[in-house]
Amino acid sequence: MGEHLLSAFVALPFVSALFVALLPKQSAAGQRFVAGTTMAAALAFLIGLVLGGFDTARGGLQFAESTAWIPSFHVNWALGLDGLALVLLLLSALIHFIAVIATPRDIAGSKGYYALLLLLFGGVNGVFLATDLFLFYVFWELMLIPMYFLIGIWGGEQRKRAAGKFILFTLFGSVLMLVGLVAVYLRSGAEGVAPTFDIYALQSQAASWMTDSGGMFGMDFSSWIFLLFFLAFAVKIPVVPFHTWLPDAHVQAPTPVSVILAGVLLKLGAYGMLRVAFPFAPDAFADLAWLVATLGVINIVYGAWVALAQTDFKRLVAYSSISHMGFFLLGMAGVAVAADGAAHFEAGTRFNALAGASLQLITHGISAALMFLLVGAVYDRAHHRDLGRMGGLGRVMPRYFAIATVGFFSSLGLPLLAGFVPEALTLFGAWPAWPMHVVVTAFGLMLTAVYLLQAYRSVLLGRTPDACASFRDLDRRELSTMVPLVIASVTLGVAPFLVLDLMAETLRTILAGLPPDILPATSIEITEGLR
């Protein structure tokens, strides 16, 4: 069992999905119980790993395992866990568990719903744990069809269009990744050795691809790889202008699915960039860091700007997701700095940028999930999401008021709540290399404050319209979905090192593989001071 720990973990949701599929149609409660227990067991397992078993002092893979799967392509069933994956897995298990609880008990076609939710969970776990690129891709695509049906069957009025758009955009990214997969696989075998799909073997080879001139259409090989993988993951994050699927998908998806989409799935794109796109093409990444930074700032400002104009509560939160994911890109651009910036630039800054970008994934996962739950709670009562027809909910729903305050201000980046630390770290990390970008970002932060406070006012404060006067306050089920997220948000705001410590060694390992190649241990890191 010991050496196949991760395999068992990845297999668990798939087995549960099969089990749910075999349960009788009528036993909605039983299906719900199986799904919930699976997520809870996964969460408990991961917490167990954090408390003992996982060695935070090591940056490399732990519990690694590898078995030949498709020998003719040199594909292995290879899994491994490191700090970054562990943190993201924790987030994913928590969010999926909450999504099961947030699902109405009387959902129609519950059997298919819970089975798909479990398949999705299994796919996500697989992506985070796969250390074989082919396997990574298989799990990546495995998430596509469950999500399509979850949006398309249980979504709102425009669900068919939204689901179609989601799958088209995502597959577009996927096929680019597939071409990239072919290119790196063949390139890895070009020097007379057996080609490989091992992500880490490919990463260490990537340095020798830098000098490779064997490109096509006037671009060198490294740029090709970067472009293919960057575009593939950009769709998922999503990076403007590949974002248009997201507002539709979010608005049409049922609340639990929106929660998963914002809380987990967007992070996969970022994870792919960290694991694959950047380390596979360090050279092109350094050359094109300006583009990454600029796209990041466009995401931040554009997302906030469009959010400002929304009257639909859920759409507003969706655009705020786009805006927040921009910080990840800006942070990553701070890691790979242009050559002329290297003089007044220290490795500690790079670490801050990377830590900020990675932490942003977690904190945004938590606050976005909370925001979508808040939207869902209002929608269940009002049956519309029009901000103009709401107001004064703070008076009728005191518990909602308290939780929403945490949610809004965490999203806004108030100190002592989760949103603040990663954004601050990112800005510190990006400043030496991209001062102008940071200045523009500050403008975006102002916009963020404006649209969030506006929404806050129009939902919670002011006169209560008659239609809203009879709203009941949050019930036990709703509280049980939101309170864990509130706790997580406050905890991460006060003690971000809880998560940072888990990731730190892994991030240093990642950093060592990215340009410019400076050892990060030589200078002071802000994150040390956060303790």
């Binding site: 799967w69 003719s72 695509e141 495995l142 069809i145 399509y148 049906f149 071409v179």
Partner: protein, 505 residues
């Protein structure tokens, strides 16, 4: 002589069965019978078993080189056997033309066409190749034209015959020219020597012309642009049984024969011939010829890929949709063949098997839904996914395989195509293929959307209430195969060995 007969045992058994089937027509004194259907299916089972024995034996020539018995041929012969079995079974259930259900003539024609397919893919002799092609073709014309009273059916049958006759005439002319080039021999190996000599002397045009003429017959069978016009009408105008048979069985054997021909005659010519010391050296003319011929194939492939996938988008009739998608898939196959190297041939033959499984499954699943819904128009299929979970669920899986999504075999197959194209220095074609997969998602998911996302007000009162246990069994088997085949290693050995034998490139 006895050994020779032993070699072609599957063909002999099939021929014997055919004669018995004709006799049965007289004995039963009626137009159709379940018993003969069961007999035909059993016969195919025996033939499949005998074909499996071919993997145990070493490749051999039979009847002085008229037939070639090897693993490569056996793979494709097995695939057309499977297609024929599925077609026969669907034919026993089919509803659209009740007068054709289980008709002995139809069963005879299916088996006869299969025998033609066996010859087509199991020979290295151009005249035998032509005979096989015509035997398969003539039976197919008769099959496709079963419904002459129906206007669409008659038009489809007519188109099929006219196009078929035209392309086979062109092909025959190409064969006659190659016969001259090869020093009055129909053997592919002799022709390869002749072609190589001609190239050595700088006569590239004399080689290119018959090559392109020869191609016509194959393009027609594979439904590739510009010989694709018949496919949508014929697929739509006949029954699902015949459409599935043409899309999978007939297409796969033609592909196998095309690969064999190109590998033996032209790839060897382009890459040099080891057996003849004078010709082992690759001349510039030869490589120029290879490059320009490869380019012609690549362009045809690209046009077919784009055409098939774009034209499929607007289709609402399921079989018409599958027809256009199969044009696109044939384009993918030709793209890989256009590399004219062992990798390309291998990738194409692997993908052909993967496509065959998924496509046959898709036709069977479409039939299973259509036979109950009483319509093959996807607009009538709203919400049926919930009513027929097995048929609709497996259709999703087959479509995923055709799109190339993991964890299905289609993904591994597409991966191999892309790898071959990328390694063969055709990255543009690889990118086009990848992007067209996204386009194909449009029309495949339109069906899935209709099945699952649309809601149906009242439950459909089924036209046919009876269960289809055999079809269900086949769907389950095909689903398992579609997932299991993601490990292409299982079919690699016979295909690799065979294509490796054929080429030096």
């Amino acid at each position: 002589m006895n050994e020779q007969l032993q070699l072609i045992l599957p063909e002999l058994v099939l021929s014997g069965g055919l004669c018995l089937l004709l006799l049965a027509d007289l004995v039963f004194q009626r137009r159709r019978a379940w018993e003969t259907g069961v007999f035909a299916l059993g016969l195919l089972g025996v033939v499949a078993y005998l074909l499996l024995q071919r993997f145990e034996a070493a490749p051999a020539d039979a009847f002085g080189g008229l037939l070639r018995v090897d693993h490569f041929g056996a793979v494709f012969q097995l695939s057309i056997t499977a297609a024929a079995a599925v077609a026969l079974f669907i034919n026993l259930h089919q509803f659209r033309y009740p007068q054709d259900r289980g008709r002995i003539e139809t069963q005879f024609l299916f088996l006869c066409a299969t025998l033609g397919g066996f010859v087509l893919v199991g020979t290295q002799h151009l005249l035998m190749l032509y005979l096989g092609l015509e035997m398969l073709g003539l039976c197919s014309y008769a099959l496709a034209d079963v419904h002459k009273r129906d206007r669409a059916g008659a038009e489809a049958g007519m188109k099929y015959v006219v196009y078929g006759a035209l392309s086979s005439g062109i092909m025959l002319y190409g064969i006659s020219l190659l016969f001259g080039l090869g020093g009055a021999s129909f053997q592919m190996t002799d022709i390869a020597l002749g072609v190589n000599r001609a190239l050595l002397e700088g006569h590239a045009v004399q080689v290119l012309l018959p090559t392109l003429l020869l191609l016509a017959g194959f393009l027609f069978k594979l439904a590739l642009v510009p010989f694709h016009w018949w496919a949508p009408d014929v697929y739509q105008g006949t029954t699902t049984a015949i459409a599935g048979y043409l899309a999978v069985g007939s297409k796969l054997v033609a592909l196998g024969a095309l690969i064999r021909t190109l590998a033996l005659i032209f790839a060897t010519a382009v890459h040099g011939i080891e057996s003849d010391p004078a010709l082992i050296e690759v001349t510039t003319v030869a490589s120029e010829f290879g490059a320009s011929f490869g380019l012609v194939l690549a362009i045809l492939a690209a046009v077919s890929m784009v055409w098939g996938n774009l034209a499929a988008i607007g289709q609402t009739h399921l079989r018409r949709l599958l027809a256009y998608s199969s044009i696109g898939h044939a384009g993918y196959l030709l793209a890989s063949i256009s590399l004219l190297n062992a990798d390309g041939f291998h990738a194409a033959s692997t993908y052909a098997i993967v496509y065959g499984v998924a496509s046959l499954g898709a036709f069977a699943a479409v039939f299973a839904i259509a036979v109950r819904a009483g319509s093959e128009d996807l607009r009538d299929w709203s919400g049926l996914g919930w009513q027929y979970p097995l048929a609709a669920g497996s259709l999703v899986l087959f479509f995923a395989s055709l799109i190339g999504l993991p964890p299905t075999a289609g993904f591994a197959g597409k991966w191999r195509l892309l790898a071959a194209l990328w390694a063969g220095d055709r990255p543009g074609l690889a990118l086009l293929l990848a992007l067209l997969s996204v386009v194909s998602l449009f029309y495949y998911f339109r069906v899935i959307k209709e099945l699952y996302l649309e809601r149906r007000e009242e439950a459909l009162s089924p036209r046919v209430s009876r269960k289809l246990p055999w079809l269900a069994g086949f769907l389950v088997v095909a689903c398992v195969a579609t997932i299991a085949l993601i490990n292409l290693g299982w079919i690699d050995a016979p295909l690799r060995l065979a294509t490796g034998d054929l080429t030096h490139g």
